[in-house]
């Protein structure tokens, strides 16, 4: 539910601090959203990451989102250059980034104004702002500061000027290195966070930097905490309910990396690309001890080529990329399908086409993931919706790739990749690991593609198996892998490769409907939007609206039963983060309307007139905006 920081508020003494002044106002809420924003390079992201991890470790539900400019060092004090982290945390589980921020710590007024222009702040947000700029030596900056304050005064924010720089200078010479820890201390006092946990998290974050750096960061954090305690007259209380379920907290890329390890995959062949690369960073740090290799290839094409070569010769290998990389890999993906070599491809989606929005979320690779190869190249496309699903999707992907001798594309996105969420600690199973490749002799009378005519499935054969020599070829071939241009061979090969996907589809379960299983509107989503869609559905139902939702994990093949589920609703629409024309846009008719990507697929496969509502803001969708779309579509009436 939407929650304002003023949901309940009372005055009481600070918790056992023996404060001499009158105790601070306690704002008690079931959840709140905090963000810290600075110029790039001032460490706001690190501060937010630590704060989010501490919230999760204290037992709160949490979801963090990075605020990232595209450049490494954009100009200082610019509206577009803001960098930081936004943490939504609550008593219960948090499934998405929510609507707006309730509490902001900003290192300068320009990055704050940038966030306001993006509509990031709640109307009644509390703002803590470094006031060093008021007395800055540069008169232009002083003028900007004054102008900024006037702008801020037009809103209903509660603004607290904090001498962050001045206080930090008491401890360090260069406050650009350390102000983030002071800010962390401010937030820690305001939100009553466990200081021991914060110290431990600082130690983890700076584990490669040495004791001195750790000590200084702790000192700065404690200074912030102390300043807040002495000077602030409010605290925000988000109760925690300690859970007896053991949990882990990580971002989606780390979950992908750990999932790959849990799945027994030992070769990640990649080329650097945002926002996928951090998964390789994680793997590079730990993979050696698991006997695994991150191979940084010379380009995206080589990266997938090396993975396919390794899969052909032994264990299933994988590659991690983003949209532009996926485009470059397409020819090789078609080859893997043709050779029936298992392969796992993770596509961490970002805004496109072309270089697009390299650091920002979009779900616009769905169609290219399904249909990007030339020719007919049937394969599997999965879409995890949470950090937990990122982990498990790698185990599923490897098993499907191997059992069905095909390509499995796992579609995540920048929202999952960089967001942090706690989830139940997986119970690992040694059976998820791949067995060593066994190389028994092969009967020379058995062809290398010994297709079961019913299922299209055939056992994979590896170099080293005596009697089994064959040449895998991307040319049309018969069961003996002999080049065959005759009409029957290509028909049969195509049929066998396609049949496998139907067999997989028959093993899948229908998706679950969230909410009532029939009604006026069904919202269908996929990937990282799940939490936001379900929160919007909850709110709509609370308003008395007849709406449910349904989230798809398998995009290709689609899970069974969709047509039947859709038939129970008057209207079906997808909600996605990719572009679609609105029905009332100029020139747009029902015939020429370009729909959101899942909507295309669902219309084609179910013959249901599936509508869509989609946006490409370079940000996750907000539950409040989805709710508005739900209301608007319901006003339009039935359409099935």
């Amino acid at each position: 539910m939407a929650t304002k920081t003023r949901a309940s508020s009372e005055k009481k003494k600070g918790p056992g601090k023996g404060s001499k002044k009158k105790g601070p106002e306690i704002i008690r809420v079931p959840e709140t959203t905090v963000e810290i924003v600075s110029d790039s390079g001032e460490g706001a992201q690190k501060c937010g990451q630590i704060f989010g991890a501490v919230c999760a470790k204290m037992g709160n539900g949490a979801w963090t989102v990075e605020i990232i400019p595209a450049e490494i060092q954009p100009p200082a004090r610019s509206k577009a250059g803001g960098s930081g982290n936004r943490v939504r945390f609550g008593t219960e589980e948090i499934t998405n980034w929510g609507d707006a921020t309730n509490l902001v710590v900003a290192f300068n007024e320009q990055v704050l104004l940038g966030r306001i222009e993006l509509g990031a702040l709640a109307e009644d947000a509390i703002v803590l702002l470094d006031n060093k700029w008021a007395t800055h030596a540069d008169e232009d900056i002083q003028k900007e500061w004054q102008g900024g304050l006037k702008e801020l005064a037009k809103h209903d924010y509660r603004i607290v000027e904090v001498p962050m720089e001045e206080e930090c200078l008491k401890i360090v010479e260069d406050p650009r290195r350390g102000k983030n820890m002071f800010a962390l201390g401010l937030l820690a006092w305001i939100c009553d966070r466990d200081v021991d946990l914060i110290r431990a998290q600082i130690a983890h974050q700076f584990r490669r930097k040495g004791e001195e750096i750790y000590q200084r960061n702790v000192e700065l954090m404690e200074a912030g905490y102390g300043w807040a305690e002495k000077n602030l007259d409010f605290r925000i209380e988000v109760p925690t309910i300690p859970s007896d379920v053991p949990k882990v907290v990580m971002n989606g890329n780390e979950a992908i990396g750990m999932g790959a390890i849990a799945a027994g995959m030992e070769l990640c062949s990649m080329y650097p690309i945002t926002p996928a690369t951090s998964a390789s960073h994680y793997l590079s740090e730990v993979y050696d001890k698991f006997g695994g290799v991150v191979h940084q290839a010379e380009d995206e094409i080589a990266a997938v080529g090396v993975a396919i070569g390794a899969s052909y010769a032994g264990k299933v290998a994988y590659t991690i990329t983003s949209g532009p990389g996926l485009s470059l890999k397409q020819e090789f993906l078609g080859l893997a399908v043709m050779l029936e070599v298992p392969l796992v491809v993770v596509d961490v989606q970002r805004g496109g086409p072309s270089t697009g929005l390299p650091t920002k979320v979009e779900q616009s690779d769905l169609l290219t993931a399904c249909f990007g190869q030339h020719g007919d190249a049937p394969h599997v496309v999965l879409a995890p919706a949470t950090m937990e699903e990122c982990f498990h999707s790698m185990i599923t992907a490897r098993r499907i790739a191997e059992a069905f001798r095909t390509v499995v594309i796992v579609l995540t996105d920048a929202n999952l990749a960089t967001g942090v969420q706690p989830y139940p600690r997986p119970q690992l199973d040694a059976r998820w690991q791949q067995a060593p490749v066994s190389l028994p002799p092969v009967d020379e009378n058995v062809p290398p593609y010994d297709w079961d005519p019913q299922t299209g499935l055939s056992p994979q054969r590896y170099p080293g198996q005596p009697g089994g020599m064959y040449t895998a070829t991307g040319l049309a071939h018969n069961a003996w892998s002999k080049v065959a241009y005759d009409p029957d061979s290509h028909q049969l090969g195509s049929q066998m490769r396609s049949r496998k996907i139907a067999v997989l589809q028959q093993t899948l379960k229908p998706p679950q409907v969230y909410g009532s299983d029939s009604g006026e509107l069904l919202v269908v989503g996929w990937g990282s939007t799940k939490g936001a869609i379900e929160e919007a559905v909850d709110r709509a139902q609370a308003e008395g609206l007849s709406v449910s939702s349904c989230h798809l994990t398998f995009i290709q093949p689609l899970q069974p039963g969709l047509k039947e589920i859709f038939s129970r609703f008057d209207r079906v629409m997808t909600v996605e983060i990719n572009y679609s024309d609105e029905p009332d846009d100029p020139y747009i008719t029902d015939e020429n309307r370009r729909r959101a990507q899942l909507a295309w697929v669902l219309r084609a496969s179910t013959l249901v007139d599936v509508d869509c509502w989609s946006r490409v803001p370079g940000q996750p969708l907000r539950p409040g905006n989805i709710l508005k779309a739900i209301r608007q579509r319901l006003e339009m009436g039935a359409k099935v």
């Binding site: 470790k57 037992g59 053991p246 949990k247 882990v248 907290v249 780390e254 750990m258 390890i261 849990a262 030992e266 070769l267 062949s269 001890k289 698991f290 006997g291 695994g292 290799v293 191979h295 290839a297 010379e298 380009d299 094409i301 080589a302 990266a303 080529g305 090396v306 396919i308 070569g309 390794a310 899969s311 052909y312 010769a313 032994g314 264990k315 290998a317 090789f332 080859l335 706690p422 600690r425 997986p426 690992l428 040694a430 690991q433 060593p436 490749v437 190389l439 028994p440 170099p463 080293g464 005596p466 009697g467 020599m469 040449t471 895998a472 070829t473 991307g474 040319l475 002999k482 080049v483």
Partner: protein, 317 residues
């Protein structure tokens, strides 16, 4: 990575199979009559027989083009992949299975044009494999288009008034890349030299790059015509550590003693010259090999689960 040194199946079991040349012969080669690829195929089958390589432990990897049909004509494992992309696939095979003998065959379009990026980086990786550039100076399978090694002014279907550019020199290019470890040049019409060069490449531990001058009877018949007819057009690099075939001394009288350990001299000799120089230009087995640099412990499933649980402890709430 997988390491299959001694499996329970093969350990201690004497493999007394003897392989004849026919045991390495796959499908009937469908290259044009007079194509130089036939003689390269024969030399390769002879090499496998002489070395008694196990067919199942040998993989031929190729791209797309006339020469890339090579794996189909061998009775070993084969990987006939994408145009220009033989090397990445071969690298993956070798990383996963260092126990396999890997041979790569590419044409000049494959290696020097569409796949040039992979070629350059593979030299640097120095993964242990034999890499053959079957260089007929032309795109053959697509019917006569200028390739990077087509001589200047030589006409083709895409440059009918003659190639505009000077030909790329695959030898200087390879020798110029950091970590080059074996570079040789031979010609398919001198079978004894071809065989000895392939053999030296096979025995080299590292990325063994061999450019094979190869006649195309359809599109580039003229290019090597003089060299085939006039032994004076050839200059042999000979050395105790290189290749020296005394039987050829009578025919190829232009000889130069070249120590394959001398990189500077190798680079000088690889520069354009009025004769084709054949032999080992450079060999250095001390260069680091990528698969050795990345060699890692082999973990059991249980060990990995234990280690991953320790990872989860770091991220535990």
């Amino acid at each position: 990575m997988t390491h299959l040194g001694c499996s329970l199946l093969s350990c201690g079991v004497v493999d007394d199979r003897h392989f004849e040349m026919e045991d390495y012969q796959g499908a009937i080669a469908r290259w044009c009559p007079g194509c130089g690829d036939h003689s390269i195929l024969t030399a390769m089958q002879r090499l496998l027989e002489e070395e008694q390589l196990k067919p199942e432990q040998t993989v031929f990897v190729s791209g797309i083009g006339c020469s890339s049909r090579f794996p189909h004509y061998m009775k070993t494992y084969g990987f006939h992949g994408l145009h220009g992309r033989a090397i990445p696939a071969a690298t993956g095979i070798k990383l996963e299975r260092p126990d396999l003998d890997v041979f790569v065959t590419m044409g000049d379009g494959d290696c020097c044009s569409i796949g040039a990026g992979h070629w350059i980086h593979a030299i640097r990786y120095n993964v242990d494999m034999v890499v053959l550039l079957l260089d007929n100076n032309m795109y053959g399978l697509t019917k006569g288009q200028t390739s990077p090694t087509t001589p200047a002014t030589f006409p083709s279907n895409t440059q009918p008034y003659g190639s505009y550019l000077e030909a790329l020199n695959p030898l200087t290019a390879t020798l110029g890349v950091t970590n080059a470890s074996f570079v040789a040049q031979t010609a398919e019409w001198i079978p004894a030299h071809l065989f000895e060069t392939l053999k030296a490449a096979y025995h080299h531990k590292g990325f063994a790059f061999v450019r094979i001058l190869q006649r195309c009877p359809v599109y580039t018949e003229k290019i090597y015509e003089d060299a085939v007819r006039q032994p004076d057009a050839i200059e042999m690099l000979i050395h105790d550590d290189g290749i020296h075939i005394p039987d050829l001394d009578e025919i190829y009288k232009n000889q130069i003693i070249h120590d394959p350990g001398n990189l500077d001299e190798a680079r000088r000799l690889a520069e354009p010259f009025d004769r084709f120089r054949l032999g080992i230009f450079y060999r250095n087995e001390k260069r680091p090999r990528y698969e050795d640099l990345r060699r890692l412990p082999v973990r059991t499933a249980e060990e990995k689960v234990e280690l991953l649980n320790q990872e989860f402890d770091r991220y535990a709430v």
